[in-house]
Protein backbone atom coordinates (compact mmCIF):
# COMPACT_ATOMS: atom_id res chain seq x y z
CA UNK A 1 0.00 0.00 0.00
CA UNK A 2 1.23 3.46 -0.86
CA UNK A 3 1.75 5.95 1.96
CA UNK A 4 -0.66 8.66 0.71
CA UNK A 5 -4.20 7.37 0.52
CA UNK A 6 -6.27 8.25 -2.53
CA UNK A 7 -8.86 9.51 -0.09
CA UNK A 8 -9.49 9.26 3.62
CA UNK A 9 -12.70 9.65 5.60
CA UNK A 10 -12.46 10.00 9.38
CA UNK A 11 -15.54 9.91 11.60
CA UNK A 12 -17.54 11.11 8.62
CA UNK A 13 -21.21 11.90 9.00
CA UNK A 14 -23.67 12.93 6.34
CA UNK A 15 -27.10 14.46 6.79
CA UNK A 16 -29.69 15.08 4.14
CA UNK A 17 -33.05 16.69 4.70
CA UNK A 18 -32.60 16.52 8.49
CA UNK A 19 -31.89 12.77 8.36
CA UNK A 20 -28.52 11.26 9.21
CA UNK A 21 -27.61 8.88 6.40
CA UNK A 22 -24.47 7.48 8.01
CA UNK A 23 -22.12 8.49 10.77
CA UNK A 24 -18.73 7.49 12.14
CA UNK A 25 -17.45 6.30 8.78
CA UNK A 26 -13.68 5.70 8.69
CA UNK A 27 -12.31 4.69 5.33
CA UNK A 28 -8.82 4.88 3.84
CA UNK A 29 -8.59 3.98 0.20
CA UNK A 30 -5.18 3.36 -1.35
CA UNK A 31 -4.22 4.21 -4.93
CA UNK A 32 -5.21 1.37 -7.23
CA UNK A 33 -7.74 -0.03 -4.78
CA UNK A 34 -11.18 -1.12 -6.02
CA UNK A 35 -13.97 -0.38 -3.54
CA UNK A 36 -17.53 -1.48 -4.26
CA UNK A 37 -20.31 0.37 -2.42
CA UNK A 38 -23.47 -1.65 -1.85
CA UNK A 39 -26.75 -1.06 -0.06
CA UNK A 40 -30.45 -0.47 -0.59
CA UNK A 41 -31.84 2.70 -2.17
CA UNK A 42 -31.57 5.75 0.05
CA UNK A 43 -28.75 4.34 2.14
CA UNK A 44 -26.40 7.12 1.05
CA UNK A 45 -24.26 5.42 -1.59
CA UNK A 46 -24.44 8.21 -4.14
CA UNK A 47 -24.13 10.71 -1.30
CA UNK A 48 -20.68 9.32 -0.54
CA UNK A 49 -19.66 10.20 -4.11
CA UNK A 50 -21.11 13.70 -3.69
CA UNK A 51 -18.93 14.19 -0.61
CA UNK A 52 -15.79 13.07 -2.45
CA UNK A 53 -16.67 15.38 -5.36
CA UNK A 54 -16.98 18.34 -3.01
CA UNK A 55 -20.67 18.78 -3.79
CA UNK A 56 -21.86 18.04 -0.25
CA UNK A 57 -20.12 19.04 3.00
CA UNK A 58 -19.82 16.55 5.83
CA UNK A 59 -21.99 17.18 8.90
CA UNK A 60 -19.15 15.89 11.07
CA UNK A 61 -15.71 14.33 10.65
CA UNK A 62 -13.15 14.99 7.96
CA UNK A 63 -12.59 14.04 4.37
CA UNK A 64 -9.38 14.31 2.38
CA UNK A 65 -9.03 13.63 -1.31
CA UNK A 66 -5.40 13.36 -2.40
CA UNK A 67 -4.38 15.00 0.88
CA UNK A 68 -6.70 18.01 0.54
CA UNK A 69 -10.26 18.90 1.44
CA UNK A 70 -12.63 17.81 -1.35
CA UNK A 71 -13.49 20.57 -3.79
CA UNK A 72 -15.47 20.97 -6.98
CA UNK A 73 -13.49 20.95 -10.16
CA UNK A 74 -10.73 18.75 -8.74
CA UNK A 75 -9.09 17.45 -11.90
CA UNK A 76 -7.67 14.41 -10.11
CA UNK A 77 -11.17 12.99 -9.54
CA UNK A 78 -13.09 11.42 -12.44
CA UNK A 79 -16.84 10.92 -12.21
CA UNK A 80 -19.13 8.62 -14.17
CA UNK A 81 -22.72 9.64 -13.32
CA UNK A 82 -25.77 7.43 -13.18
CA UNK A 83 -26.72 6.57 -16.69
CA UNK A 84 -29.11 8.83 -18.56
CA UNK A 85 -29.59 8.50 -22.28
CA UNK A 86 -28.50 11.44 -24.39
CA UNK A 87 -31.36 12.66 -26.57
CA UNK A 88 -31.01 11.21 -30.10
CA UNK A 89 -31.04 14.66 -31.71
CA UNK A 90 -28.44 16.36 -29.49
CA UNK A 91 -25.68 17.60 -31.79
CA UNK A 92 -22.83 15.89 -29.95
CA UNK A 93 -20.25 13.37 -31.16
CA UNK A 94 -18.34 10.86 -29.11
CA UNK A 95 -15.25 13.02 -29.03
CA UNK A 96 -17.24 16.11 -28.02
CA UNK A 97 -18.61 14.27 -24.99
CA UNK A 98 -15.13 13.11 -23.99
CA UNK A 99 -13.65 16.56 -24.61
CA UNK A 100 -16.09 18.13 -22.14
CA UNK A 101 -14.32 16.14 -19.44
CA UNK A 102 -11.15 18.00 -20.35
CA UNK A 103 -12.25 21.62 -20.78
CA UNK A 104 -16.06 21.69 -20.47
CA UNK A 105 -15.70 23.77 -17.31
CA UNK A 106 -13.51 26.44 -18.95
CA UNK A 107 -14.99 29.74 -19.99
CA UNK A 108 -14.19 31.41 -23.27
CA UNK A 109 -13.56 29.93 -26.71
CA UNK A 110 -10.82 27.30 -27.02
CA UNK A 111 -8.31 28.85 -29.37
CA UNK A 112 -5.03 27.25 -28.36
CA UNK A 113 -3.88 23.73 -27.66
CA UNK A 114 -6.29 22.08 -30.07
CA UNK A 115 -3.82 19.42 -31.21
CA UNK A 116 -2.95 18.52 -27.62
CA UNK A 117 -6.65 18.38 -26.75
CA UNK A 118 -7.37 16.10 -29.70
CA UNK A 119 -4.51 13.82 -28.65
CA UNK A 120 -5.79 13.47 -25.09
CA UNK A 121 -9.34 12.80 -26.26
CA UNK A 122 -8.03 10.15 -28.65
CA UNK A 123 -6.05 8.52 -25.89
CA UNK A 124 -9.08 8.40 -23.57
CA UNK A 125 -11.21 6.90 -26.35
CA UNK A 126 -8.49 4.32 -26.91
CA UNK A 127 -8.54 3.34 -23.22
CA UNK A 128 -12.20 2.34 -23.50
CA UNK A 129 -11.88 0.85 -27.01
CA UNK A 130 -14.20 3.49 -28.40
CA UNK A 131 -12.06 5.14 -31.08
CA UNK A 132 -14.63 4.08 -33.67
CA UNK A 133 -17.31 6.07 -31.80
CA UNK A 134 -15.41 9.38 -32.04
CA UNK A 135 -17.52 10.80 -34.86
CA UNK A 136 -20.84 9.09 -34.13
CA UNK A 137 -23.75 11.09 -32.71
CA UNK A 138 -23.85 10.11 -29.02
CA UNK A 139 -27.65 9.96 -28.98
CA UNK A 140 -27.66 7.29 -31.68
CA UNK A 141 -25.39 4.95 -29.68
CA UNK A 142 -26.45 2.04 -27.46
CA UNK A 143 -26.49 2.32 -23.67
CA UNK A 144 -23.23 0.38 -23.40
CA UNK A 145 -21.49 2.55 -25.97
CA UNK A 146 -22.65 5.74 -24.23
CA UNK A 147 -21.42 4.32 -20.93
CA UNK A 148 -17.95 3.67 -22.39
CA UNK A 149 -17.85 7.27 -23.63
CA UNK A 150 -18.79 8.57 -20.19
CA UNK A 151 -15.98 6.55 -18.68
CA UNK A 152 -13.62 8.00 -21.28
CA UNK A 153 -14.88 11.45 -20.29
CA UNK A 154 -14.01 10.68 -16.67
CA UNK A 155 -10.58 9.32 -17.64
CA UNK A 156 -9.51 12.08 -20.04
CA UNK A 157 -8.24 14.26 -17.19
CA UNK A 158 -6.02 11.36 -16.03
CA UNK A 159 -7.65 11.07 -12.57
CA UNK A 160 -6.09 9.37 -9.56
CA UNK A 161 -9.54 8.53 -8.25
CA UNK A 162 -12.48 7.34 -10.33
CA UNK A 163 -16.03 7.46 -8.96
CA UNK A 164 -18.69 5.52 -10.84
CA UNK A 165 -22.39 5.53 -9.98
CA UNK A 166 -24.20 2.39 -11.16
CA UNK A 167 -22.08 2.14 -14.30
CA UNK A 168 -23.42 -1.35 -15.06
CA UNK A 169 -27.07 -0.45 -14.78
CA UNK A 170 -29.20 -1.54 -17.75
CA UNK A 171 -26.28 -3.18 -19.53
CA UNK A 172 -26.38 -6.80 -20.71
CA UNK A 173 -23.87 -9.27 -19.31
CA UNK A 174 -21.36 -8.91 -22.13
CA UNK A 175 -21.40 -5.11 -21.85
CA UNK A 176 -21.12 -5.31 -18.07
CA UNK A 177 -17.99 -7.39 -18.46
CA UNK A 178 -16.52 -4.92 -20.96
CA UNK A 179 -17.05 -2.02 -18.55
CA UNK A 180 -15.66 -3.95 -15.55
CA UNK A 181 -12.62 -5.03 -17.60
CA UNK A 182 -11.77 -1.50 -18.59
CA UNK A 183 -12.14 -0.17 -15.03
CA UNK A 184 -9.91 -3.01 -13.86
CA UNK A 185 -7.32 -2.27 -16.54
CA UNK A 186 -7.35 1.42 -15.64
CA UNK A 187 -6.60 0.82 -11.96
CA UNK A 188 -3.96 -1.80 -12.74
CA UNK A 189 -2.11 0.25 -15.36
CA UNK A 190 -2.52 3.72 -13.84
CA UNK A 191 -2.92 2.94 -10.13
CA UNK A 192 -6.26 4.76 -10.17
CA UNK A 193 -8.44 4.06 -7.14
CA UNK A 194 -11.99 3.09 -8.13
CA UNK A 195 -15.14 3.59 -6.05
CA UNK A 196 -18.07 1.90 -7.73
CA UNK A 197 -21.65 2.22 -6.49
CA UNK A 198 -23.87 -0.67 -7.51
CA UNK A 199 -26.85 -2.88 -6.67
CA UNK A 200 -25.16 -5.92 -8.17
CA UNK A 201 -21.97 -7.18 -6.62
CA UNK A 202 -21.46 -10.23 -8.82
CA UNK A 203 -20.26 -8.52 -12.01
CA UNK A 204 -17.55 -6.68 -10.02
CA UNK A 205 -16.84 -9.44 -7.49
CA UNK A 206 -13.61 -10.65 -9.19
CA UNK A 207 -12.07 -7.16 -9.15
CA UNK A 208 -13.40 -5.87 -5.81
CA UNK A 209 -10.78 -5.41 -3.08
CA UNK A 210 -13.16 -4.14 -0.44
CA UNK A 211 -16.89 -3.75 0.00
CA UNK A 212 -18.56 -0.87 1.80
CA UNK A 213 -22.05 -2.08 2.68
CA UNK A 214 -24.49 0.64 3.84
CA UNK A 215 -27.90 -0.10 5.39
CA UNK A 216 -30.00 2.39 7.38
CA UNK A 217 -27.04 4.30 8.78
CA UNK A 218 -25.17 1.08 9.63
CA UNK A 219 -22.25 -0.10 7.57
CA UNK A 220 -19.55 -2.73 7.25
CA UNK A 221 -16.23 -2.43 5.45
CA UNK A 222 -14.04 -5.35 4.44
CA UNK A 223 -13.16 -7.81 1.74
CA UNK A 224 -16.14 -9.44 0.00
CA UNK A 225 -15.45 -12.60 2.02
CA UNK A 226 -15.61 -10.66 5.27
CA UNK A 227 -18.70 -8.60 4.52
CA UNK A 228 -20.79 -10.92 2.38
CA UNK A 229 -21.73 -13.43 5.08
CA UNK A 230 -25.13 -14.41 6.43
CA UNK A 231 -24.11 -13.18 9.85
CA UNK A 232 -22.92 -9.70 8.80
CA UNK A 233 -25.82 -8.95 6.45
CA UNK A 234 -28.36 -10.25 8.98
CA UNK A 235 -26.91 -7.79 11.46
CA UNK A 236 -27.02 -4.94 8.97
CA UNK A 237 -30.57 -5.59 7.81
CA UNK A 238 -31.72 -6.60 11.32
CA UNK A 239 -33.54 -9.55 9.85
CA UNK A 240 -32.56 -13.04 8.78
CA UNK A 241 -30.55 -12.90 5.58
CA UNK A 242 -28.84 -15.87 3.96
CA UNK A 243 -25.77 -15.39 1.84
CA UNK A 244 -25.10 -18.31 -0.45
CA UNK A 245 -22.06 -18.85 -2.65
CA UNK A 246 -22.82 -20.59 -5.88
CA UNK A 247 -19.59 -21.12 -7.84
CA UNK A 248 -18.20 -17.60 -8.25
CA UNK A 249 -21.47 -15.86 -7.48
CA UNK A 250 -22.88 -14.55 -4.25
CA UNK A 251 -26.64 -14.77 -3.83
CA UNK A 252 -28.39 -12.93 -1.01
CA UNK A 253 -31.70 -14.39 0.14
CA UNK A 254 -34.02 -12.50 2.44
CA UNK A 255 -34.55 -8.71 2.64
CA UNK A 256 -35.67 -8.91 -0.98
CA UNK A 257 -37.93 -5.95 -0.51
CA UNK A 258 -34.88 -3.89 0.40
CA UNK A 259 -32.41 -4.77 -2.25
CA UNK A 260 -32.00 -6.22 -5.68
CA UNK A 261 -28.99 -8.47 -5.45
CA UNK A 262 -29.97 -11.25 -7.77
CA UNK A 263 -30.07 -10.98 -11.52
CA UNK A 264 -26.60 -9.51 -11.86
CA UNK A 265 -23.66 -11.35 -13.31
CA UNK A 266 -23.20 -14.98 -14.27
Amino acid sequence: MSSTPSFRLTGAEVRRGGRTLWTGLDLDVAPGEFVTVLGPNGSGKTTLLSVLLGLLPLAAGTCEVGGHAPRRGNATVGYVPQHTNVDPLTPLRGRDLVGLGLDGHRFGPALRGRAERARKVREALLQVDALDLADDPVGALSGGEQQRLRIAQALVGDPGLLLADEPLHSLDLARQRTVVDLLERRRREHDTAVVLVTHELNPVLPVTDRVLYLVDGQFRIGTPDEVMTSETLSELYRTEVDVVRIRDRIVVVGAEDRLVHTGGGP
Binding site: R72, V77, D87, L92, G104, H105, R106, F107, G108, A140
Partner: protein, 282 residues
Protein backbone atom coordinates in the same frame (compact mmCIF):
# COMPACT_ATOMS: atom_id res chain seq x y z
CA UNK B 1 -42.46 50.24 -56.50
CA UNK B 2 -40.44 47.14 -57.31
CA UNK B 3 -38.68 45.11 -54.65
CA UNK B 4 -35.34 46.54 -55.76
CA UNK B 5 -36.61 50.08 -55.24
CA UNK B 6 -38.02 49.13 -51.88
CA UNK B 7 -34.68 47.70 -50.79
CA UNK B 8 -33.03 51.07 -51.27
CA UNK B 9 -35.35 52.70 -48.74
CA UNK B 10 -33.90 53.55 -45.36
CA UNK B 11 -36.52 51.82 -43.28
CA UNK B 12 -36.11 48.65 -45.32
CA UNK B 13 -32.36 48.72 -44.87
CA UNK B 14 -32.84 49.26 -41.13
CA UNK B 15 -35.20 46.32 -41.00
CA UNK B 16 -32.71 44.12 -42.84
CA UNK B 17 -29.89 45.03 -40.46
CA UNK B 18 -32.17 44.36 -37.49
CA UNK B 19 -33.15 41.02 -39.03
CA UNK B 20 -29.52 40.00 -39.61
CA UNK B 21 -28.60 40.75 -35.97
CA UNK B 22 -31.66 38.94 -34.65
CA UNK B 23 -30.97 35.89 -36.81
CA UNK B 24 -27.36 35.61 -35.61
CA UNK B 25 -28.50 35.70 -31.98
CA UNK B 26 -31.36 33.27 -32.50
CA UNK B 27 -29.23 30.86 -34.50
CA UNK B 28 -26.53 30.76 -31.80
CA UNK B 29 -28.88 30.51 -28.83
CA UNK B 30 -31.23 28.06 -30.57
CA UNK B 31 -29.19 24.87 -30.11
CA UNK B 32 -28.90 25.59 -26.36
CA UNK B 33 -32.65 26.24 -26.14
CA UNK B 34 -33.33 22.93 -27.88
CA UNK B 35 -30.70 21.13 -25.80
CA UNK B 36 -32.24 22.34 -22.54
CA UNK B 37 -35.77 21.55 -23.69
CA UNK B 38 -36.84 25.18 -23.38
CA UNK B 39 -39.10 25.57 -26.44
CA UNK B 40 -42.20 26.12 -24.32
CA UNK B 41 -40.39 28.52 -22.03
CA UNK B 42 -39.31 30.60 -25.06
CA UNK B 43 -42.93 30.78 -26.14
CA UNK B 44 -43.95 31.88 -22.64
CA UNK B 45 -41.19 34.50 -22.57
CA UNK B 46 -42.40 35.85 -25.92
CA UNK B 47 -45.96 36.28 -24.65
CA UNK B 48 -44.71 38.18 -21.62
CA UNK B 49 -42.53 40.33 -23.87
CA UNK B 50 -45.72 41.03 -25.82
CA UNK B 51 -47.54 41.98 -22.62
CA UNK B 52 -44.62 44.21 -21.56
CA UNK B 53 -44.45 45.88 -24.95
CA UNK B 54 -48.21 46.41 -25.13
CA UNK B 55 -48.27 47.81 -21.60
CA UNK B 56 -45.46 50.24 -22.42
CA UNK B 57 -47.23 51.28 -25.62
CA UNK B 58 -50.39 52.05 -23.68
CA UNK B 59 -48.73 53.97 -20.86
CA UNK B 60 -45.66 55.60 -22.43
CA UNK B 61 -46.28 55.49 -26.20
CA UNK B 62 -44.44 53.95 -29.14
CA UNK B 63 -40.92 54.87 -28.03
CA UNK B 64 -41.21 52.71 -24.93
CA UNK B 65 -42.36 49.50 -26.64
CA UNK B 66 -38.85 48.07 -26.90
CA UNK B 67 -38.09 48.69 -23.24
CA UNK B 68 -41.43 47.27 -22.15
CA UNK B 69 -40.82 44.10 -24.15
CA UNK B 70 -37.30 43.84 -22.74
CA UNK B 71 -38.42 44.19 -19.13
CA UNK B 72 -41.28 41.68 -19.57
CA UNK B 73 -39.07 39.14 -21.34
CA UNK B 74 -36.06 39.32 -19.03
CA UNK B 75 -38.16 39.20 -15.85
CA UNK B 76 -40.06 36.15 -16.93
CA UNK B 77 -36.98 34.46 -18.43
CA UNK B 78 -35.28 34.84 -15.05
CA UNK B 79 -38.31 33.31 -13.37
CA UNK B 80 -38.35 30.38 -15.80
CA UNK B 81 -34.60 29.98 -15.37
CA UNK B 82 -35.07 29.68 -11.61
CA UNK B 83 -37.65 26.92 -12.03
CA UNK B 84 -36.23 23.47 -11.46
CA UNK B 85 -35.66 20.87 -14.12
CA UNK B 86 -38.80 18.95 -13.19
CA UNK B 87 -40.46 19.08 -16.58
CA UNK B 88 -44.07 18.79 -15.49
CA UNK B 89 -44.00 21.54 -12.89
CA UNK B 90 -42.04 23.78 -15.21
CA UNK B 91 -44.54 23.26 -18.02
CA UNK B 92 -47.53 24.09 -15.86
CA UNK B 93 -45.95 27.26 -14.40
CA UNK B 94 -45.00 28.41 -17.91
CA UNK B 95 -48.53 27.66 -19.14
CA UNK B 96 -50.06 29.68 -16.31
CA UNK B 97 -47.82 32.72 -16.92
CA UNK B 98 -48.05 32.48 -20.70
CA UNK B 99 -51.83 32.66 -20.74
CA UNK B 100 -51.85 35.43 -18.14
CA UNK B 101 -49.35 37.44 -20.20
CA UNK B 102 -51.33 36.96 -23.37
CA UNK B 103 -54.49 38.11 -21.60
CA UNK B 104 -52.78 41.20 -20.19
CA UNK B 105 -51.32 42.05 -23.58
CA UNK B 106 -54.72 41.83 -25.27
CA UNK B 107 -56.21 44.05 -22.55
CA UNK B 108 -53.49 46.69 -23.03
CA UNK B 109 -54.00 46.62 -26.79
CA UNK B 110 -57.78 47.02 -26.46
CA UNK B 111 -57.29 50.06 -24.25
CA UNK B 112 -54.78 51.60 -26.66
CA UNK B 113 -56.35 54.20 -28.90
CA UNK B 114 -53.42 55.03 -31.17
CA UNK B 115 -52.53 53.76 -34.64
CA UNK B 116 -53.79 50.20 -35.12
CA UNK B 117 -50.64 49.06 -36.96
CA UNK B 118 -48.75 49.53 -33.69
CA UNK B 119 -51.17 47.14 -32.05
CA UNK B 120 -50.63 44.08 -34.13
CA UNK B 121 -46.94 44.56 -34.74
CA UNK B 122 -45.99 42.95 -31.46
CA UNK B 123 -47.99 39.84 -32.21
CA UNK B 124 -47.34 39.26 -35.89
CA UNK B 125 -44.23 41.34 -36.52
CA UNK B 126 -43.57 44.67 -38.11
CA UNK B 127 -40.52 46.06 -39.79
CA UNK B 128 -41.57 49.54 -40.76
CA UNK B 129 -41.16 50.72 -37.18
CA UNK B 130 -37.40 50.11 -37.06
CA UNK B 131 -35.46 53.39 -37.23
CA UNK B 132 -31.75 54.22 -37.14
CA UNK B 133 -31.76 54.60 -33.36
CA UNK B 134 -33.35 51.17 -32.97
CA UNK B 135 -30.77 49.63 -35.25
CA UNK B 136 -27.94 51.12 -33.24
CA UNK B 137 -29.43 49.87 -29.96
CA UNK B 138 -29.99 46.48 -31.53
CA UNK B 139 -26.42 46.29 -32.77
CA UNK B 140 -25.01 47.19 -29.36
CA UNK B 141 -27.26 44.73 -27.55
CA UNK B 142 -26.40 42.12 -30.15
CA UNK B 143 -22.66 42.53 -29.64
CA UNK B 144 -23.04 42.32 -25.85
CA UNK B 145 -25.19 39.18 -26.06
CA UNK B 146 -22.73 37.61 -28.51
CA UNK B 147 -19.76 38.45 -26.33
CA UNK B 148 -21.31 36.95 -23.20
CA UNK B 149 -22.46 33.91 -25.12
CA UNK B 150 -18.99 33.28 -26.54
CA UNK B 151 -17.60 33.25 -23.01
CA UNK B 152 -20.20 30.93 -21.47
CA UNK B 153 -20.95 28.66 -24.43
CA UNK B 154 -18.87 25.60 -23.53
CA UNK B 155 -19.69 25.36 -19.81
CA UNK B 156 -23.30 26.10 -20.72
CA UNK B 157 -23.38 23.15 -23.15
CA UNK B 158 -21.75 20.97 -20.49
CA UNK B 159 -24.29 22.04 -17.85
CA UNK B 160 -27.20 21.52 -20.25
CA UNK B 161 -26.02 18.02 -21.16
CA UNK B 162 -24.98 16.73 -17.75
CA UNK B 163 -25.66 19.14 -14.87
CA UNK B 164 -24.27 16.84 -12.17
CA UNK B 165 -20.99 16.09 -13.86
CA UNK B 166 -20.60 19.74 -14.84
CA UNK B 167 -21.17 20.82 -11.23
CA UNK B 168 -18.61 18.26 -10.04
CA UNK B 169 -16.11 19.67 -12.53
CA UNK B 170 -16.62 23.14 -11.07
CA UNK B 171 -19.15 24.61 -13.52
CA UNK B 172 -21.44 27.14 -11.76
CA UNK B 173 -24.56 25.45 -13.10
CA UNK B 174 -27.16 27.69 -11.44
CA UNK B 175 -25.40 30.94 -12.24
CA UNK B 176 -25.08 29.87 -15.87
CA UNK B 177 -28.76 29.11 -16.16
CA UNK B 178 -29.51 32.64 -14.91
CA UNK B 179 -27.03 34.17 -17.39
CA UNK B 180 -28.59 32.17 -20.19
CA UNK B 181 -32.08 33.26 -19.09
CA UNK B 182 -31.04 36.91 -19.46
CA UNK B 183 -29.47 36.33 -22.89
CA UNK B 184 -32.60 34.52 -23.98
CA UNK B 185 -34.89 37.22 -22.57
CA UNK B 186 -33.00 39.94 -24.44
CA UNK B 187 -33.08 37.98 -27.69
CA UNK B 188 -36.78 37.21 -27.35
CA UNK B 189 -37.54 40.88 -26.65
CA UNK B 190 -35.73 41.87 -29.87
CA UNK B 191 -37.46 39.08 -31.77
CA UNK B 192 -40.92 40.11 -30.60
CA UNK B 193 -40.40 43.56 -32.13
CA UNK B 194 -39.35 42.17 -35.50
CA UNK B 195 -41.10 38.85 -36.18
CA UNK B 196 -43.71 39.18 -33.43
CA UNK B 197 -44.49 37.20 -30.30
CA UNK B 198 -46.32 34.44 -32.12
CA UNK B 199 -43.34 33.60 -34.27
CA UNK B 200 -40.28 34.01 -32.09
CA UNK B 201 -40.19 30.22 -31.88
CA UNK B 202 -39.63 29.94 -35.62
CA UNK B 203 -36.26 31.68 -35.19
CA UNK B 204 -35.18 30.26 -31.86
CA UNK B 205 -36.30 26.66 -32.37
CA UNK B 206 -36.81 25.78 -36.02
CA UNK B 207 -33.30 26.58 -37.36
CA UNK B 208 -31.62 24.73 -34.46
CA UNK B 209 -33.99 21.77 -34.78
CA UNK B 210 -33.30 21.64 -38.52
CA UNK B 211 -29.53 21.78 -38.00
CA UNK B 212 -29.68 18.94 -35.45
CA UNK B 213 -31.23 16.75 -38.15
CA UNK B 214 -28.26 17.00 -40.45
CA UNK B 215 -25.15 17.22 -38.25
CA UNK B 216 -23.85 15.84 -34.97
CA UNK B 217 -21.08 18.42 -34.67
CA UNK B 218 -22.00 21.07 -32.08
CA UNK B 219 -20.03 23.78 -33.90
CA UNK B 220 -21.45 22.97 -37.31
CA UNK B 221 -24.94 22.80 -35.79
CA UNK B 222 -24.55 26.37 -34.48
CA UNK B 223 -23.21 27.62 -37.82
CA UNK B 224 -26.05 25.96 -39.75
CA UNK B 225 -28.66 27.30 -37.30
CA UNK B 226 -27.36 30.83 -37.89
CA UNK B 227 -27.40 30.35 -41.68
CA UNK B 228 -30.93 28.93 -41.60
CA UNK B 229 -32.17 31.78 -39.39
CA UNK B 230 -30.56 34.35 -41.73
CA UNK B 231 -32.16 32.79 -44.80
CA UNK B 232 -35.57 32.78 -43.09
CA UNK B 233 -35.37 36.38 -41.86
CA UNK B 234 -33.82 38.03 -44.91
CA UNK B 235 -35.95 35.94 -47.27
CA UNK B 236 -39.01 36.76 -45.20
CA UNK B 237 -38.38 40.51 -45.23
CA UNK B 238 -37.76 40.64 -48.98
CA UNK B 239 -40.78 38.47 -49.77
CA UNK B 240 -43.06 40.49 -47.49
CA UNK B 241 -42.06 43.72 -49.25
CA UNK B 242 -42.97 42.19 -52.55
CA UNK B 243 -46.32 40.90 -51.34
CA UNK B 244 -47.18 43.81 -49.07
CA UNK B 245 -48.02 41.40 -46.22
CA UNK B 246 -46.62 41.03 -42.67
CA UNK B 247 -43.23 39.35 -42.59
CA UNK B 248 -44.01 36.57 -40.13
CA UNK B 249 -45.86 34.21 -42.50
CA UNK B 250 -42.89 34.34 -44.85
CA UNK B 251 -40.27 33.84 -42.14
CA UNK B 252 -42.28 30.97 -40.73
CA UNK B 253 -42.80 29.31 -44.10
CA UNK B 254 -39.15 29.54 -45.11
CA UNK B 255 -38.01 28.19 -41.72
CA UNK B 256 -40.53 25.38 -41.97
CA UNK B 257 -39.40 24.47 -45.51
CA UNK B 258 -35.78 24.32 -44.30
CA UNK B 259 -36.82 22.10 -41.40
CA UNK B 260 -38.73 19.69 -43.65
CA UNK B 261 -35.79 19.53 -46.05
CA UNK B 262 -33.36 18.81 -43.20
CA UNK B 263 -35.62 16.11 -41.79
CA UNK B 264 -35.63 14.38 -45.17
CA UNK B 265 -31.83 14.63 -45.33
CA UNK B 266 -31.58 13.39 -41.74
CA UNK B 267 -33.76 10.36 -42.49
CA UNK B 268 -31.49 9.53 -45.43
CA UNK B 269 -28.40 9.78 -43.22
CA UNK B 270 -29.89 7.56 -40.53
CA UNK B 271 -30.85 4.94 -43.09
CA UNK B 272 -27.37 5.00 -44.58
CA UNK B 273 -25.78 4.59 -41.14
CA UNK B 274 -28.10 1.68 -40.35
CA UNK B 275 -27.20 0.02 -43.64
CA UNK B 276 -23.49 0.49 -42.92
CA UNK B 277 -23.88 -0.99 -39.44
CA UNK B 278 -25.72 -4.00 -40.89
CA UNK B 279 -22.98 -4.55 -43.44
CA UNK B 280 -20.29 -4.32 -40.76
CA UNK B 281 -22.19 -6.66 -38.45
CA UNK B 282 -22.81 -9.13 -41.29
Amino acid sequence: MSTVDLLSLDFVRNALIAGVVLAVLSGLLGPVVVGRGMAFSVHGTAELAFAGGAGALLVFGTDAVGWGALVGAVLVALLFGALGRAQRERDSVIGVLLSFGLGLGVLFQSLYTGRSANKFGLLVGQIVGVDVGDVLTLAIVGVVVLGVFAVVRRPLLFASLDPEVAAARGVPVRALSIVFAVLLGVTVALGVQIVGALLVLCLLITPAAAAAQVTASPTLASVLAVVFAEVAVIGGIVASLDAGLPISPFVASIAFAIYVGCRALGALRTRRRATRATIMAG
